[in-house]
């Protein structure tokens, strides 16, 4: 793994390397080098198995984080390639040509996060949701509880008391 890291450090601009476990390393790279890096990892370093591709929303920093988790089935270790992209009009280069399932992942990301992957097959087709007209639901600023309460009529008749407030009210009725 050491030599692999050295190899990619000499070839790509790596921002940061985090060693999570002896067999799991996360690499932060700039957006431009992400797809070339995973292509390189797949073709030259034996990281032939794409475990997953997913995103996380760092809304405070106004960025999305994309994680391509790659696995080396021979030497049994994983590398997570992390890329930060802007939340505004989020787009990312497609990687569907590398693995067949990437198109599906990208389709999901487009739908659930609103990250576009121009050129990815079927990326604009709805995947899971149907007739969705709100924010992409996995974004942090989408409030699922509020949406649910507004849309799906919770059954009435439920009300709860906070023990502290209730006790104060009961035991000291004169105090406000």
């Amino acid at each position: 793994m050491k030599s692999l890291l050295n190899n990619i450090k000499s070839r790509f601009s790596i921002k940061d390397v985090t060693e999570q476990r002896s067999n799991l390393v996360f690499i932060d790279v700039a957006r431009e080098s992400a797809v070339p890096l995973i292509t390189y990892l797949r073709d030259y370093e034996g990281m032939t198995h794409l475990v997953l591709l997913t995103a996380a929303d760092w809304i405070e920093e106004n960025e999305f984080q994309l994680t391509y988790l790659l696995n080396n089935p021979e030497q049994k270790f994983d590398i997570g390639v992390r890329v930060r992209i802007s939340r505004e009009k989020a787009t990312m280069e497609t990687a569907h040509h590398l693995w067949e399932q990437v198109a599906t992942y990208q389709r999901e990301l487009k739908e659930m996060f609103g990250i576009d992957f121009p050129g990815s097959p079927g990326v604009d087709k709805p995947f899971i949701l149907e007739g969705w007209d709100d924010l992409p639901p996995y974004r942090r600023d989408f409030d699922t509880k509020k949406y649910s309460e507004d849309t799906y009529f919770p059954r009435p008749g439920r009300e709860s008391n906070d023990p502290a407030e209730y006790m104060k009210k009961k035991m000291y009725p004169n105090e406000k």
């Binding site: 059954r155 008749g157 439920r158 009300e159 709860s160 008391n161 906070d162 023990p163 502290a164 407030e165 209730y166 006790m167 104060k168 009961k170 035991m171 000291y172 004169n174 105090e175």
Partner: protein, 597 residues
């Protein structure tokens, strides 16, 4: 493809002659012993802390009032109601239950046409599974979802402390405080019980978040004496703490002290935002600088009143300074709290006795309102034969003399009558003086109440014993044996019960069992009385008292004389946190009174 492939499947037919494996009567089949079925709740044990509601990710549990369950200290009077349109039977509510009252039966069957039926209050609404013994219970062993054991507090060892007045409790380090704060389930049962209604879960949360400035702000919302309270509060909150039902209660008092300890007093104004307070031009006189007086002064000062405290003794603090030994409450900590209050523009006039140096009438003329929090500074006597002897002392007097630096006539053998905290204070103070003077401790403290109902804090008793004092509860004094100038000892008789069935003080004795404690000095510590001789003339005439001689005040602590507010121990009995709460409410009352006028 072979002949075998065609023939071998027919072997399946051998099953046609075997018995079906079907469960013959699925309608009465019982679930497994541990099965998670519908909820049961022992409502007598349940305290309605709502922790089950907190952990329920389905929002399936509501805390609702229940007929027949009264709200009282340590019991919110609420009980969980479960909505089976939400429940997922994960049983985390059972595992997290602070009283182990909640459990699941292994009953699984509930069919109904009406979707609004699927909710009920376990234990209250009778269900067929209430008597079902099987079902999910919290796993045994060390299985807890939170730590039920208190983080150990470092203290001075008994050997190193029994001859000095250095503070015993060292206070929590950050790691310890974080661990201790983590134990809190934030139920809020303590909040109402605390006379000052301190935001206990909130400031504990601030500790967890390591946001101690926020913690300090929460403390000062309801309590301007956190350093003091963090040490000597009677912590009624800890008594009712829900975790205390199956483990140690959260050490709320020490966590409060931890917050206050972390901030030097010069940062207070910055943190609390009290740098610039605009005066509103009105003035209030406060008689007595005890907890209620200081608390009233603080909250009035925040509201812009100009306050002046009149104190009889040389320094501020009242009973906190003159009634509590230094090893429990060091003077510098009192100063820290008091000085901060004074720094807000509160003026203090020490060595000023109301009635002699200045009269109440004069105060009335000079100020818009007066708050009196003069406390209980007179010891009460048992009035058994021999109490008029010169070697019989009052605990409050002795404690005050210690602080004032007067010589204390310590004898080799001492008997203390009383089982409260003051008794423990004087016992341990005298024990220290004995150790210094004679090199050994020989002091007996005896109380009417038996060990389990002694009013003193448990740790006080334990620590006193660690310091070699002898505590013998359950005896009532009958006679002090004297011999001229010398005192010989105390005759006692076994006390069988202290309170009658209605809870009134009415001790019963077993005359058969008697004992005799030898000693050259007896200290009485069975309670204190108030000295309200400064109310004179018209004021005394107009002041309404109840039949037991106590001043009647309304909920704003306003007495029958509208400009006179009274609070603290003289209203509520001896308790620092009550005093603080009184002072706070009186401040609000004064503001209301003066705001209207």
């Amino acid at each position: 493809m072979s002949l075998k492939d065609i023939l071998s499947p027919f072997t399946a037919w051998k099953h046609v002659v075997k018995d079906p494996v079907t469960i013959k009567d699925p309608f009465t089949r019982e679930a497994a012993e541990r099965y998670r079925g519908f909820h049961k709740n022992d409502i007598e044990t349940c305290i309605g802390c709502g922790t089950c509601e907190d952990i329920c990710q389905n929002a399936a549990i509501d805390m609702v009032p229940v007929d027949g369950i009264e709200t009282r200290d340590g019991d919110s009077g609420l009980r969980p109601m479960v909505d089976y349109g939400r429940c997922c039977w994960c049983a985390l509510c059972v595992d997290v239950c602070t009283t182990n009252s909640l459990s699941l039966s292994n009953h699984y069957n509930w069919i109904d046409e009406d979707p609004d039926q699927f909710r009920y209050i376990p234990g209250v609404d009778k269900k067929e599974w209430d008597t079902n013994e099987k079902g999910w219970k919290k796993p045994e062993g060390n299985y807890e979802l939170y730590d039920i054991n208190r983080v150990k507090m470092e203290e001075q060892a008994p050997e190193s402390r029994d001859d000095s007045f250095i503070e015993i409790v060292k206070g929590y380090s950050k790691e310890q405080a974080l661990l201790e704060a983590d134990r809190c389930v934030a139920c809020g049962i303590c909040t109402a019980t605390c006379p000052a209604h301190m935001g206990i879960p909130e400031y504990i949360k601030a500790i967890r978040n390591d946001d101690l400035e926020e913690g300090l702000r929460i403390l000062y919302d309801t309590n301007p004496l956190p350093e003091i309270c963090g040490r000597i509060c009677t912590h009624k909150c800890e008594t009712v703490c829900s975790i205390g039902h199956k483990g140690d209660p959260i050490s709320i008092r020490w966590l409060k002290r931890y917050i206050a300890d972390q901030h030097p007093s010069d940062q207070y104004k910055e943190i609390l935002g009290t740098r610039d307070i605009e005066l509103n031009g009105k003035t209030v006189a406060i008689v007595g600088s005890g907890p209620s007086g200081l608390s009233a002064a603080y909250y009035l000062a925040l509201l812009g009143y100009k306050c002046t405290i009149y104190e009889k003794l040389p320094e501020a603090g009242g009973m906190m300074r003159y009634g509590i030994p230094e090893y429990r409450l060091p003077y510098d900590q009192i100063d820290k709290d008091v000085n901060y209050i004074l720094s807000l523009g509160v003026e203090i006039k020490t060595n000023t006795n109301i009635g002699t140096d200045i009269t109440l009438e004069e105060l009335q003329e000079q100020y818009d309102a007066v708050f009196a929090g003069t406390g209980l500074h007179m010891g009460r006597s048992t009035r058994v034969p021999g109490t008029d002897h010169q070697e019989v002392y009052q605990a409050v007097d002795l404690l005050r003399d210690v602080v004032l630096g007067k010589e204390i006539p310590v004898k080799e053998n001492i008997v203390v009558i009383g089982g409260g905290n003051v008794a423990m204070d004087i016992t341990r103070t005298l024990a220290r003086l004995q150790k210094v003077k004679f090199g050994k401790v020989s002091i007996i403290a005896t109380s009417l109440e038996s060990e389990d109902i002694m009013p003193a804090d448990r740790e006080e008793v334990v620590e006193a014993r660690e310091e070699n004092a002898t505590i013998i509860p359950g005896w009532g004094p009958t006679k002090i044996e004297t011999e001229g100038e010398h005192l010989k000892g105390l005759h006692v008789v076994k006390c069988t019960s202290v309170f009658d069935e209605e809870g009134r003080f009415n001790p019963k004795f077993d005359e058969e069992q008697i004992d005799y404690f030898k000693g050259e000095m007896v200290v009485e510590s069975i309670g204190q009385g108030m000295d309200i001789s400064y109310f004179k003339g018209d004021i005394k005439e107009n002041l309404k008292l109840d039949n037991r001689g106590r001043i009647i005040v309304n909920e704003n602590f306003q007495s029958s004389i509208d400009w006179l507010f009274v609070g603290g121990d003289i209203i509520q009995g001896p308790d620092v946190i009550h005093g603080i709460a009184n002072g706070h409410k009186a401040a609000i009352g004064i503001d209301k009174f003066l705001g209207e006028g």
